[in-house]
């Protein structure tokens, strides 16, 4: 973590809360959660509301599929923390082998065709946003994805094109595999709202 104020908390209450949660969970509170506690009114409240809506709101995509989208956006943006964090959540809903296969090559992974075409759209959106044309959207809709579902996927893509950038810039510490597994359980239970 490159900003020490986020690491320790920007108020006595935040500092005590971070210390307490780390103590009772017997693991360092992940940096993503520390950011959510920092300067809350400025960023984490509105960011948490959109993230919660995109990841847990009503959608044709399952929670596991949306978490896999997040993990792949993280892969395209080279965010190790987010790949592992959201890969772990997705693996709790889908099979771990499915998530690993998708992270290696989603085209060949045992996932639905509609998810593959949505991921193709998100890959272009993430890596070459100015190259997106109506042809890309038509290809997704032609595969049986509704316009509402494509908008939901775009929301996941947009949110994680923000999250991965500040995670990389702030240099989020990488927890152990066991800690990611335990954090994933909490994310499934509590969601993303601040």
């Amino acid at each position: 973590m490159r900003l020490q104020e986020i690491d320790r908390g920007d108020s006595i209450v935040s500092h005590l809360f971070i210390s307490f949660i780390s103590l009772v969970s017997r693991m360092r509170l992940p940096d993503a959660a520390r950011v959510a506690l920092y300067h809350k009114d400025f960023f984490s409240v509105p960011m948490g509301e959109w993230t919660q809506a995109a990841m847990r709101g009503s959608s044709e995509w399952s929670v596991g599929e949306r978490e896999l989208m997040a993990a792949l956006v993280a892969k395209w943006n080279s965010s190790s923390f987010c790949v592992r964090a959201h890969g772990a959540v997705s693996a709790k809903e889908l099979e771990r082998s499915t998530v690993d296969a998708a992270l290696a090559d989603y085209h060949a992974a045992p996932i639905s065709e509609r998810l593959k075409v949505a991921l193709e759209f998100l890959e272009t959106m993430t890596l070459r946003p100015t190259e997106l044309t109506s042809k890309h959207a038509k290809a997704v809709l032609a595969a049986g994805v509704s316009a509402e579902a494509l908008k939901d996927a775009i929301a996941v893509g947009a949110v994680f094109n923000i999250v991965t950038r500040y995670a990389n810039t702030l240099d989020f510490a990488i927890p152990t595999a066991d800690e990611f597994h335990r954090a994933a359980t909490m994310l499934l239970k509590r969601g993303y709202g601040s």
């Binding site: 104020e5 960011m47 890309h136 923000i162």
Partner: protein, 113 residues
């Protein structure tokens, strides 16, 4: 009763408004310039121009020295945090707008048929 669909456009705008137009430790012009730079806009006349450009293009290459320069120039870690999330937001919203634009084009064409 059918589930209520999320208002992604409204939530995106609320986030944009809060981070770029709302009150903060840094000034609004600084945050807006960072968001625009990270989405391919004009260079900023500041020592952290390379940082905000890199947040947009390849955030995994950002260094601790770049973040330290930003803190030094804007005067506090809280102000630096605001600039960093403004830049990340600019890059994310560029992608949001680009994608929604092509989806709307297809939806409008279908509605016109």
């Amino acid at each position: 009763m059918p589930a209520i669909r999320p208002d992604h456009s409204g939530l995106a705008e609320a986030l944009r408004y809060r981070v770029l137009d709302g009150p903060g430790v840094s000034n609004r012009a600084t945050r807006k310039a960072a968001a625009e730079r990270a989405s391919g806009g004009q260079a900023i006349a500041a020592s952290y121009d390379d940082l905000v450009r890199q947040i947009g293009e390849s955030s995994h290459r950002v260094t601790s020295a770049q973040v330290e320069r930003l803190v030094s120039e804007v005067g506090s870690q809280k102000a630096a945090f605001e600039v960093i999330v403004a830049a990340a937001l600019g890059a994310g919203l560029l992608r949001w707008r680009s994608a929604i634009k092509v989806l709307d084009e297809v939806s409008d064409a279908s509605a016109g048929n």
